[in-house]
Symmetry: C2
Subunit: 354 residues, 2 copies
DNA sequence: CTGTTAGCGCATTCAC
DNA sequence: GTGAATGCGCTAACAG
């Protein structure tokens, strides 16, 4: 049947405890003994029983990374970076030593699934959890989340936010890395204003997300500073963070306000759909309408024309979140760090016609 | 401290065994007793101890989904679809009943990490494992993989391949869903030949991957059938499946064979880079050079001009793999199914100049 | 440095 | 339909 630690001990002529010690490597063991044990492990093709180990030690090597949409490179890049810091390099043998099992969980943006995953991870006694992406604004859900996270933290799970605003009054979270969505949104719109645009359409993300609100607030700050805040509502259309939504919303926007000379999209993916809608409408980019995105995903530089956008250091942020989750890096002061967003001016924006 | 099943039992004035039975729901329990237990669970905020449960039952609710590159939507779409079938809808309470914990693991295309993840999953006594994406051609690695998968299967883990060719002589795998990369590649090149192209460059993926080889073989089949197999080698450049590689390889290709009138890319992401290189070279698409991709990722239809490519039903395949992993769907005859690839002709391909 | 002893929290036989 | 007892495989004190 399945070979256990006792079998290995018998074959190596040592006690089970000794085998456990060499396997976990956190205790002095004589080199010769260790070799004997490792040989026995190889001979018997022994694989540690994770559940038994977790039960006895009251900890597990599971680390969860929650993302809103795994098909979106925005999350994929962060998750991959985090995972690479957590998983460790491996020893190339496939034997798997003290590695953590870094796994990503796709919530699909659903608050229920987010909670379910947290419960599942709590059940597994996860060592750490990284939550990526903006949060939902709903106070009820936020309260439930805060309670759940507090319980996880109580049980010893390290919580890290990545690209997510900090929870108010909570010490459950080891560190929160928040993107400067507001500042990025402001600088982007300032750029368009400098080019001479005055009627700027905004294809926003879902209403109830912090990311959506912060980017939009940055945009409106810039508009307001330029004395242009009359038609905020009619020039804003909300929708999901996907290509299709960008397309539909832009069509709606062009119908509603044909005079716009620029369209700012909630993110690069939405901008892609926006661009398609604009072209199908018979307008040229950027001659007739400028287009801008957010995130600077890899494909954005290859768009035609190349997309003006706001660069978020997704990989770096994800990696840092991974290190924080592992305790390999000391948290920022107050547990909160703001990650800068950099304006990338490219071919899709230009002065308005006329 | 942490509340256990015994605490719940005490509060509900029943035995631990009864609590276990209502929680697992696979045993008759009186309705009134069940209510009492569930109330106690809620009152105490009890969360099952996963490791203990897994140890006692010798099974776990963990399901692993292995992907080569989590930042690539190709994998993200499949993984998300699989996860949605496995994770179940949740009951909206965040309480997490009989749900599986579907998690995706990013191998980064590294065979070592692939093995490490399999070992980690084996250690956790995973209920199922879904392996996505092409395999490595290296016979040594294939042998190790086969052995590892056999061991997993022995331990009761269900193995499913998604977008990966079946393992020869192995009954460890419940089902293998393989994409028709060869057929898709052939039809794509046939399309270019019909347009009148004769000198076709090929920006291929990494040499050692089955996906790369199959797509390339399809291309060469078509070329051969047209009597055009003279310069196969000089017209083929290999590189990773990413944007940068497509850019670099295409520049190399244009240097090596300036007379090409069409470039076929290993996939859509590579095609994006190829297109950038072609334009920077001062050539127009498709007037001077036609470009084609593979996969039909969401952004491909929004490329300018829209990308001719081969559509792979990634979502459907991922979902099916998820169902197979859960035993919700009966495996195809022989455990092997080929998934068709559909040619999508769009604006990036046209007859050659002159 | 190594062996012995006790549980970790739950699922599962059996009885009743 | 319910309770009592046993052991899953391992780690963590203790000794020595």
């Amino acid at each position: 049947m399945t070979v256990t630690l006792a079998d290995v001990a018998a074959r190596a002529r040592v006690s089970p405890a000794t085998v456990s010690r060499v396997l976990n490597g956190n205790y002095p063991v004589a080199a010769s003994t260790r070799d004997r044990v490792l040989r026995a492990v190889d001979d018997l093709d022994y694989v540690l029983n994770g559940p038994a180990s977790s039960l006895a030690a009251a900890t597990s090597d599971l680390v969860g990374i929650l993302v809103n949409d795994i098909a979106d490179p925005f999350f994929g890049i962060m998750a991959g970076a985090a995972q690479s810091e957590i998983g460790g390099p491996g020893d190339g043998s496939g034997r798997a030593g003290g590695e953590k099992l870094a796994v990503v969980c796709n919530t699909g943006g659903s608050p229920e699934r987010e909670l379910t995953y947290l419960t599942l991870l709590q059940r597994q006694r996860a060592a750490a959890v990284v939550l990526t992406g903006g949060a939902l604004e709903d106070p009820a859900h936020q309260a439930v989340m805060a309670a759940k996270l507090a319980k996880l933290a109580d049980a010893g799970t390290r919580i890290v936010f990545c690209g997510r605003p900090p929870l108010p009054d909570s010490d459950a979270v080891v560190a929160a890395l928040a993107f400067d969505n507001r500042g990025g949104g402001r600088r982007l719109t300032e750029h368009l204003l400098e080019l001479g645009h005055r009627r700027i359409g905004y294809v926003a993300g879902p209403l109830e997300r912090t990311t959506t609100r912060h980017r939009l607030e940055g945009h409106r700050e810039a508009m307001k500073a330029a004395g242009l805040y009359a038609d905020e509502e009619s020039l804003t259309v909300h929708g999901p963070y996907d290509r299709r939504s960008g397309y539909d919303a832009t069509l709606e926007l062009l119908r509603r306000a044909p005079e716009v000379t620029a369209v700012v999209a909630a993110n690069d993916t939405v901008a892609l759909g926006a661009g398609a809608a604009i072209r199908e409408h018979g307008l040229r980019i950027p001659e007739d309408v400028s287009v801008a995105g957010f995130d600077d995903l890899p494909f954005s530089v290859d768009a035609v024309p190349a997309l003006t956008t706001v660069r978020l250091p997704l990989f770096e942020a994800g990696a840092r979140a991974g290190r924080l989750a592992m305790g390999k890096e000391t948290p920022p002061p107050g547990g909160i760090a703001t990650i800068e967003a950099e304006l990338m001016v490219r071919g899709s924006t230009a002065p308005p016609r006329g």
